[in-house]
Each structure stands twice: as structure tokens, then as C-alpha cells.
């Protein structure tokens, strides 16, 4: 497919520790096309952020990519030097994190930060870059940009700061944006503004977006496809309609059932018994088997995998668990 922007194949991220090697991301394969939003969901510790950090080349040592390949518009990027990766980040991949303050320097005016970033990635003059910064600020919905461009980050609200971070991520017109819980720290009304903005940018510019969030509602209204992660592995990958309405994996189904409804009265919420295993204690076979009501002998023996579509579950893959 020529339109594939991000192609991740069998990615494995490991953390060597005193007690042995922990596998935080275990053979994840996924793609994101031009203008597509891929949602990535899962409980905390499922490996969502580590997948994003591996793609950005920002894994903190001793964390490392132990296997697999990452391609950006066809180019391998998982084996580049830090220096090469620095040019890729910002220019070809933009990043948006949960806390906008981690991406902004409190000591510089937001306009100067935008101008610096624009000039780093282009040959524009200072005046041209400033005009472009004003355009970007307008595009992400900052009111009265002529006044606000010379403000410092602390003079903006949380939602406005996150808009500035998005503007920064857009400076170099990247092919891919990795947004890790970009709205988690924001109010519901601001959250909706930011997701609407991401959707619009993705549509208008054809940017590929990896949207990491734990909010299924946001995924249902924003993403085109969804990847559900569990204990470092891909549990299910499919279109948003399929995964939300017709989940194939027992974990995804349980997850959907545990979310309180806005429309129906439920005396009890559906519960998945137990909790996600810690990295050092992932059971043999399917990582979900101790919590799965449908687990059979095969589930305790062999790891089910999905290669880019469907559910990583023996029941879904073969119709049986023996």
C-alpha cells in the first residue's frame, strides 16, 4: 500500500533488569495510513506509551527495541542513530503528550518557541517564520493571536497550552503525529475541542495520527481503527465499529461492558475478575487466560497472535481452545 505512513512489524521493547528481561511491548504489528487516526487503548501499563516512545526513538535506557521493524513512509527508522532520529522527530513525526508543559519551555514566549521550531525545519526568515507561527496559532484556534503570540506558557490555560503544543507539532508539517493521552488532563468541554482539532488537521493535511488514550468514548468518536493492548501484546485490532460494537476478544468485550452507560440503567456493571498481570508475571499462553471465562488448555499453552487485523484469541482464530 503506497498510502501507508507508519508500518510497525513485530515490534518488541525490552527492559533488562536485575531480575531478568521484562518485555513491555511484545510483537506488536500495526499500520497507519495517510489521513487515518489509529486509536490505541488499554489499561495503564499495557504498553501504549512504550509503543509510542519506541516509534519516536525516545525509549529511556535500559529500555530498547529488541526486535521488529518500524518504517515511516517506507524508510526504516528503528535502526537510526540518535542524531538521525533527532531530524526525523519534529520534521517527520510530531509528538503531543498528556502534560503540555513538558513540551513547552516556561522561560520563552510561545511565539519565539514556534518561530525557533519553524526555522529549525525550514529556510524561512525570522519575519516569515513569525507570520507562519501566527497562521498556525490561528489554525489551532487561539483567539487574538497578535496579542497572545508574545505571552509565556503560564499565561495560557491548559487547553490553550495543548493547542500551542499541537501548533508546535505541526510546524514542520509532519507525516505522523503521536498523541499520547493528549486530552486526559483537560476538561470535557476542552477535550472535545482538542479532539475536534486533531480530526480536522488529520483530514485537511492528510497527517497520520496515533491517538493513545484510555477513553473509549473518545476513540469511538475520533479514531478510524483501534488497537487494543493487553500486557504488552495486541489483543485486538480492527475498525472502530467492529471493535466497539462487535468485539471479538473476550478482554475487549469485558472492557466495553465495564464502562457505565449514558443511556441505560444497569444495576451492576460487568466486571472482569482480577487484574492485568505485572510484566514479570505474564502467564504462559494467552496473557488473558487467568481472567477469561472461555479459556481452554490451548490458551494456557500457546500465545495467540493477530497480524494487523482481528482478535488475538484462539476462540476467534480457530473456533476452539483445546
Amino acid at each position: 500500500m503506497t498510502d501507508t505512513v507508519l508500518d510497525v512489524r513485530a515490534l518488541r521493547v525490552e527492559f533488562p533488569t536485575r531480575r531478568g528481561v521484562l518485555t513491555a511491548v511484545d510483537e506488536i504489528s500495526l499500520t497507519i495510513g495517510k489521513g487515518e487516526i489509529l486509536g490505541v487503548v488499554g489499561e495503564s501499563g499495557a504498553g501504549k506509551s512504550m509503543t509510542g516512545m519506541a516509534i519516536l526513538g525516545l525509549l529511556e535506557p535500559p529500555g530498547r527495541i529488541a526486535a521488529g521493524e518500524i518504517r515511516l513512509s517506507g524508510d526504516r527508522i528503528d535502526n537510526l542513530t540518535e542524531q538521525q532520529m533527532q531530524t526525523i522527530r519534529g520534521r517527520r513525526i510530531g509528538a503531543i503528550f498528556q502534560d503540555p508543559l513538558t513540551s513547552l519551555n516556561p522561560l520563552f514566549k510561545v511565539g519565539d518557541q514556534l518561530v525557533e521550531t519553524i526555522r529549525l525545519h525550514s529556510s524561512l526568515t525570522r519575519a516569515q517564520a513569525r507570520a507562519r507561527a501566527l497562521d498556525l496559532m490561528r489554525e489551532v484556534g487561539i483567539p487574538a493571536v497578535e496579542e497572545r503570540i508574545d505571552n509565556y506558557p503560564h499565561q495560557f490555560s491548559g487547553g490553550m497550552r495543548q493547542r500551542i503544543v499541537i501548533a508546535l507539532a505541526l510546524c514542520a508539517e509532519p507525516e505522523l503525529i503521536i498523541a499520547d493521552e493528549p486530552t486526559t488532563a483537560l476538561d470535557v468541554s476542552i477535550q472535545a475541542q482538542i479532539t475536534a482539532l486533531l480530526k480536522r488537521l488529520c483530514r485537511d493535511r492528510g497527517t497520520a495520527v496515533m491517538l493513545v488514550t484510555h477513553d473509549m468514548g473518545v476513540i469511538a468518536e475520533t479514531a478510524d481503527r483501534v488497537a487494543v493492548m493487553y500486557a504488552g501484546r495486541l489483543a485486538e485490532l480492527g475498525t472502530v465499529e467492529d471493535v466497539v460494537r462487535r468485539p471479538q476478544h473476550p478482554y475487549t468485550a469485558g472492557l466495553m461492558g465495564s464502562i457505565p452507560s449514558l443511556r441505560h440503567d444497569e444495576s451492576e456493571l460487568q466486571m472482569i475478575p482480577g487484574s492485568m498481570p505485572r510484566l514479570g508475571a505474564i502467564p504462559a499462553g494467552c496473557a488473558f487466560n487467568p481472567r477469561c471465562t472461555q479459556a481452554g488448555p490451548k490458551c494456557r499453552r500457546d500465545i495467540p497472535r493477530t497480524d494487523g487485523a482481528g482478535a488475538a484469541c484462539w476462540l476467534a482464530l480457530t473456533g476452539e481452545t483445546v
Binding site: 468541554s189 476542552i190 475541542q193 468518536e221 466497539v244 466495553m256 451492576e268 466486571m271
Partner: protein, 323 residues
């Protein structure tokens, strides 16, 4: 009428957020007051759950702190018609609220020892074991430290500790906001079961409307320190009356009926230090008219479970519809 267990009348809490004295003098800055809670009334009958819902900074946690006595009110009154020792609080952050150096057994036993200092040690141990089982942990967990537990398990420990004080009334400030949805379901089911079995009363705080819908009998929607609308849960969802409630319900993503073209609510919550005059929602309100900019819709303190503070959603509509 059953006598409410908690009665809150015209409650106010102001904070002085002025610059330090020297700066005020040198830079001629005025004193600044933040009205975190600005005239709030509600009642909670025994065995019921009243939820406060609203965006960050609207005053929910401040009300929780006023009710539990962690802050003194600047105005108004709180009447608790029960044994004040039987009020307990559960906080949002199950990590910060448990002493990391104490074993779980000691953490859970603490309110019990405060309430009945003469209890023999063997009886305390037995009670702690019983409480841990009630919240779905095991007696053996008493010997462990908080860091050995997951977030959901720590919130269970907080609940066990709250129950050890034999509460009648629990103030729960975002008890599941730090938890994953699957863990949240476990904690919410537990809280509902305990309410059924022990007849507990909850003041339940959350910013999540779906959680509030599941838990509450009555919902109070807050905006900038005030209750803009209060209705029984079912009615609030079927017939939201305040334009802010409607916008909130229109804005939140709905898993069961996703609307990918949903138009977001414009604007932001203004600063509570200098709220807009008149109805503080008027800069964002699609129905605002001249009166809203000049005059503040007053609350009707006589009606406690069905009220809207808005000139457009008139009292008549309300009364015709419900009262």
C-alpha cells in the same frame, strides 16, 4: 418527610488569592478573592447518593472539604444530622492517601482504634480481616504494604479503612478517576453493594457523567462555584434544563451512539477570581439575552432536589413539568 442526613444551606467558601503584601503595596495590586463555593444548597436523605458533577475548578472538592470539616465555611451552614465521627472520606488518589510506611492492617485498623480505643487486639485483627474480605481482598493482605498493591486494590484498602470507622455517611471525591475502567467497574460495584447492605449515604463527586448516572439518585451540576441545576438522575438525563447541562451532555463522547461530527462546546470556564457579571455562564450560552448579563439567576433555597438557575429555563417550565 424523612429528615435529611446532610443539609447544606447557602454554603460559601472564599479564598484570598492576593499577591503577597509587599507586591500589593509596590505594584498597587488590589486584594483578590476567589469564590470557590458561592451559595450552594442541597440535602441528602439517608441511604441515598447525591452527586456533584462539573468541570475542573468548579468547587466540587472544596465542598467535600467543607462538609468533612477540613475547611471552615466563609458563609452559610452545614448540618450533619448524624454522629460526626461516622462521616468518612475517600479520596481520588489511592496512592497519596495511604501511609506508605504502615502495613495495610494498621492502616485499616486506625479508625477503629480511634473510635473504640479499648478494643482488644485480637478483636481488632479479626475485624480488619473481615473488612478486607468485605472489599474483596484477603486477611493475609493485612501484613503487606500499600506499594505491593495495584491502584484498584489500594482504593479497596481506602474503602476498607473508611468502613472501619463504621460510617453512616461517606464523602467520595473522584474515587475512581485514577483507575482504569475495568478496575473502576469493580470499585463502583463494591460501593453500590456496600450501600445496599449497610444503608450508607454518599456524597459522590465526579467529573464523569456516565459514572454519576450509574451511582447517583440526585445529580447537582456545578459551574463556577454554584449549582446551576439539580434533578433526580433519570430526569436530568431525560430532560436537562440548564443550557450548561445540555452542552455537557452534547459534548461528552457517547460510546453507544458515537457522533463523529459532534460540535464541541465553545469557550472555556472563566477564572473564578473575576467571574462574568450576571449569569456567569452567559459568555458561553447560546440562549443568553440582555437580562443574563446584568442579573444573576437566583437559587430557590426551598426546593432542594429539582432546581435550575437560568432565566430561559423558567421556573414555570420546571413546575409544569415536574413539581
Amino acid at each position: 418527610m424523612i429528615r435529611p442526613i446532610l443539609e447544606v444551606d447557602a454554603l460559601e467558601r472564599r479564598f484570598d488569592v492576593s499577591a503577597p503584601w509587599l507586591n500589593r503595596v509596590l505594584e498597587r495590586k488590589p486584594r483578590r478573592t476567589l469564590r470557590a463555593v458561592d451559595g450552594v444548597d442541597f440535602d441528602i436523605p439517608p441511604g441515598q447518593t447525591l452527586a456533584l458533577v462539573g468541570e475542573s475548578g468548579c468547587g466540587k472538592s472544596t465542598i467535600a472539604k467543607l462538609v468533612t470539616g477540613l475547611h471552615p465555611p466563609s458563609g452559610g451552614a452545614i448540618r450533619f444530622n448524624g454522629d460526626p465521627r461516622k462521616m468518612q472520606m475517600i479520596f481520588q488518589d489511592p496512592y497519596a492517601s495511604l501511609n506508605p510506611r504502615w502495613r495495610v492492617g494498621r492502616i485499616v485498623a486506625e479508625p477503629l482504634r480511634t473510635l473504640h480505643p479499648e478494643t482488644p487486639e485480637a478483636q481488632v485483627t479479626a475485624r480488619v480481616e473481615e473488612l478486607l474480605c468485605t472489599v474483596g481482598l484477603s486477611g493475609a493482605d493485612a501484613a503487606k504494604y500499600p506499594h505491593e498493591f495495584s491502584g484498584g486494590q489500594r482504593q479497596r484498602i481506602s474503602i476498607a479503612r473508611a468502613l472501619a470507622g463504621e460510617p453512616e455517611f461517606l464523602v467520595c471525591d473522584e474515587p475512581t478517576s485514577a483507575l482504569d475502567v475495568s478496575v473502576q467497574a469493580q470499585v463502583l460495584n463494591l460501593m453500590k453493594r456496600l450501600q445496599r447492605e449497610m444503608g450508607l449515604t454518599y456524597l459522590f463527586i465526579s467529573h464523569d457523567l456516565s459514572v454519576v448516572r450509574h451511582m447517583a439518585d440526585v445529580i447537582a451540576v456545578m459551574y463556577l462555584g454554584r449549582i446551576v441545576e439539580i434533578q433526580p438522575t433519570r430526569d436530568l438525563f431525560a430532560n436537562p434544563l440548564h443550557p450548561y447541562t445540555r452542552m455537557l451532555l452534547d459534548t461528552i463522547p457517547d460510546l453507544e451512539n458515537p457522533r463523529r461530527d459532534r460540535a464541541p462546546m465553545g469557550g472555556e470556564v472563566p477564572s473564578p477570581v473575576s467571574p462574568p457579571p450576571g449569569c456567569s455562564f452567559h459568555p458561553r450560552c447560546p440562549l443568553a439575552f440582555d437580562r443574563c448579563k446584568a442579573e444573576r439567576p437566583e437559587r430557590n433555597p426551598r426546593i432542594h432536589d429539582r432546581r435550575v438557575a437560568c432565566f430561559a429555563a423558567t421556573g414555570n417550565t420546571l413546575e409544569a413539568a415536574h413539581v
